[in-house]
Every structure is written in structure tokens, then in C-alpha cells.
Amino acid sequence: DTAVSQTPKYLVTQMGNDKSIKCEQNLGHDTMYWYKQDSKKFLKIMFSYNNKELIINETVPNRFSPKSPDKAHLNLHINSLELGDSAVYFCASSRIGTSGGGETQYFGPGTRLLVL
């Protein structure tokens, strides 16, 4: 069984369209994340949710809206797609630890988004 899964794996779309990426984890984790990896391979955190509650919201355009229907799912909706949104988007999950920053994150396979 895949621990963290994302759909779709590839997404090619036109500028201005709205698209969603889905993420599911079957690890029983409480915390889920979205990361963006650009063409230069920099991996930047976008959002973090804990038990369906937004915890981390980095400087991300309002066109990006995460939604967590339950703690096993964290979807990413992107409105009015722009060329600069082309990147690989990774979902990840982790437990909530009792100590700071010590929990391993498990990453999904990534969604390759290409905006034309």
C-alpha cells in the first residue's frame, strides 16, 4: 500500500484554468503538508494542516487554497493558473511529536504541473 499518494501524477493545463491536486495518506498521521519544487529544485513549504486545521501558511498567492476534508486528505486547489505555477508539488505527512521538529515527514510521489 502506498503511504502517501497524490493524483494526478501529471497535469498539463492552460493559463487561467482552475485545477486541483489530491493527496491521501494511510499512515494515520495528524499533520499534512504541501511543498512546491521549482525547476531549480528548491523545495519550499506552502501549507501545513493538523487535524484539518491550517497551521502553516507561507507566503503563497491567494490563488492557492488547501482543503482538508479529514485528517487523511489534504487537497490543493489552484485558481487562475499562471506560467510560474509550473513545478512539482509534493504532499507529505507526519505524526505530531511531543518534541519540536523531530518527526519524520513522508512524501508522496509528486504531481508535475505544467501550465501552458
Binding site: V4, T31, Y33, Y35, K41, F42, L43, K44, I45, S48, N50, I55, I56, F90, A92, S94, R95, I96, G97, T98, S99, G100, G101, G102, E103, T104, Q105, Y106, F107, G108, P109, G110
Partner: protein, 112 residues
């Protein structure tokens, strides 16, 4: 957030031990040091984590000096399949919530 600095790339021959050092001068008391490995077209994968001194698992060793301002990932006898990008990061947690920053990573190329 503690920022990390690591070499952009390294080359190594098969069978050699590889040491990748990461600097994190502003590491906070609560921060753990974690290393991830990323193969092309895949998500990062946890390798090892430590807080201080030395940690060893079946994949690698992690050496952390007493001041914790740097750490060294040691990969014993690398093979071609170890060619990947290796990220060093420190995690700031509050109540267990992680906010980690991935650096540029070190691209390791293993040569036959």
C-alpha cells in the same frame, strides 16, 4: 528558522565512503537535524535524524559536534544507486508542529 548550507554537488567513486557536511549556525535548542534523499522524479525520503553526538542506522551515520552548528552525513561504500540529491534540514517545532526549511541540497554523483 535555522538556515542550512551544504555543498551544491559532490562526486564519488563506487565503494568509497562519502561525507556530506551541512552548516546550521543558527540552530535552536529544540531543532533536530534531519537528512533526506531525493531521487529524480520522486519525493524526498527520510534517511536519518539526530539531535546530538552520533546516530547510525542501516543506511547512514550522522555525526553532530557538541556545538551542533554543523552535521555530517556519512554514507558507507556508496553504489551507483546512491546517486541522488541529499538535503540537510533543521526542524523548528512548537507543540510538535514542524516547520522545516529545505536547503539547496547536495547532488551526489556516484561514478563507476
Amino acid at each position: 528558522l535555522a538556515k542550512t548550507t551544504q555543498p551544491i554537488s559532490m562526486d564519488s567513486y563506487e565503494g568509497q565512503e562519502v561525507n556530506i557536511t551541512c552548516s546550521h549556525n543558527n540552530i535552536a535548542t529544540n531543532d533536530y537535524i534531519t537528512w533526506y534523499q531525493q531521487f529524480p522524479s520522486q519525493g524526498p525520503r527520510f534517511i536519518i535524524q539526530g539531535y546530538k553526538t552520533k546516530v547510525t542506522n542501516e543506511v547512514a551515520s550522522l555525526f553532530i559536534p557538541a556545538d551542533r552548528k554543523s552535521s555530517t552525513l556519512s554514507l558507507p561504500r556508496v553504489s551507483l544507486s546512491d546517486t541522488a540529491v541529499y538535503y540537510c534540514l533543521v526542524g523548528e517545532g512548537s507543540g510538535g508542529y514542524q516547520k522545516v526549511t529545505f536547503g539547496t541540497g547536495t547532488k551526489l554523483q556516484v561514478i563507476p
